[in-house]
Symmetry: C2
Subunit: 239 residues, 2 copies
């Protein structure tokens, strides 16, 4: 609008923040860093950082994840824009507009601090106390979004390793939603949706050390679920 003067407008800092979710020991975990600097030094926060001049928000998200937590070249990392948080005052230092991402991981590799993060840890979802900035809000939004997308997309496979059992897939839904599902019905539903999963022939794996070995499946080619796999309507939730 005002032509070409790069400094004609108040400069905005643009950052990315990542809500990295995974399943560990049957519980939803989130990747948090401990901030090494003010503001909020010593507090926990979502990993993230400033965009560099030549990279998109998606690129910056992967870079920051690698720098701050050691997660790089992660196979199967699902990265997806959540929304952008731009309220004035969300960072006390200056005007910061942050593009938030939700990231899903099949396994939970060990992480370590780096860059501006004093340390990095997997923390069970919901036990992290107040986070820095508006990161509690971002984390809640990420959880809501992931829970909703499980219903009508194949997103659940992003929590699973390349080959997985239907029991593992079901535990993804149960963990994220916090509900129990009927195993036979879940199984039929998933197998009846073309492209959701495809069998890996002739393979099986013991899961809990006990029980019948389960057949293995791969993620299929579909991305959306028609019809959707609706979560059971809990009372108290708005219809």
């Amino acid at each position: 609008m005002d032509g070409y003067d790069k400094y004609a407008h108040e400069p905005f800092a643009v950052t990315v923040d990542l809500a990295v979710l995974t399943l560990r020991d049957g519980a939803l975990h989130v990747l948090l860093v401990e901030r090494g600097q003010e503001p909020y030094a010593g507090h926990r926060a979502l990993p993230g950082g400033f965009l560099q001049p030549d990279e998109s928000a998606e690129t910056a998200a992967r870079r920051e994840l690698a720098e701050e937590t050691g997660l790089s070249d992660v196979s199967g990392l699902h990265l997806e824009q959540l929304r952008t948080y731009s309220e004035p005052g969300r960072d006390p230092r200056m005007r910061v507009v942050s593009v938030a991402f939700a990231a899903l991981l099949p396994h939970a590799p060990e992480v370590h601090g780096g860059g501006d993060a004093a340390r990095a840890d997997w923390v069970p979802y919901g036990t992290a106390g107040p986070l820095a900035f508006d990161h509690d809000r971002i984390l809640t939004d990420a959880h809501d979004r992931v829970g909703a997308k499980l219903e009508y997309t194949c997103l659940a496979t992003a929590f699973c390793p390349p080959e997985f059992t239907l029991g593992e897939l079901q535990r993804v839904y149960e963990t994220v939603w916090g509900t129990e599902l009927d195993r036979p019905n879940f199984r039929r539903k998933v197998l009846a949706t073309p492209g959701f999963v495809e069998p890996v022939p002739g393979t099986a794996r013991l899961t809990g050390g006990r029980g019948k070995p389960a057949a293995l499946y791969r993620a299929g080619t579909a991305t959306t679920l028609h019809p959707p796999l609706l979560r059971p309507p809990r009372e108290g939730r708005p219809t």
Copy 2:
């Protein structure tokens, strides 16, 4: 993370872009401006502009809409973040990160150019030729998102005036999806979903000049649809 120097990082310009959709004469229309300045002077583009230092993206979106098209104090304007476009090079002048919004309007008030927009017009969706910047992509994303959200939210009422008939609501679905729906079934489905619509007692309105006057409804309090109102699975669409 380099502390407090506002100019330590390359300055990013932050803008908002709006895909404003409405129904006119039974067809989906989008609000486009004609750019008055380079780059893309004379081309059509989505309305939008730069964030100011003291406002959020949502605030900026409403302000730019008023400035560039004369739409201000619009009752029933539904505004919703779409995603943020941050690829380097999407604006030839400098690094611009744009927060895109989808906006839905019940009626289509007359609009006029203003600010940096030479003119503003309602244009039938799909007839606008190539838009400036990556605005074709943004517009497509907005249409996809709205179409998808009709399935599992009450978003359709955002296209309707405060009081509307079920026929009008059905036409929203049919226009956005480009399909025909069975009227009796649509009717039952909508009325069976608590909180979707509520009747306005003792009122009726003629719709097409002919036919039986239709009962009027208001938007209800629900925001999500359980179970969803799925669009008919067209062949060719991925399941």
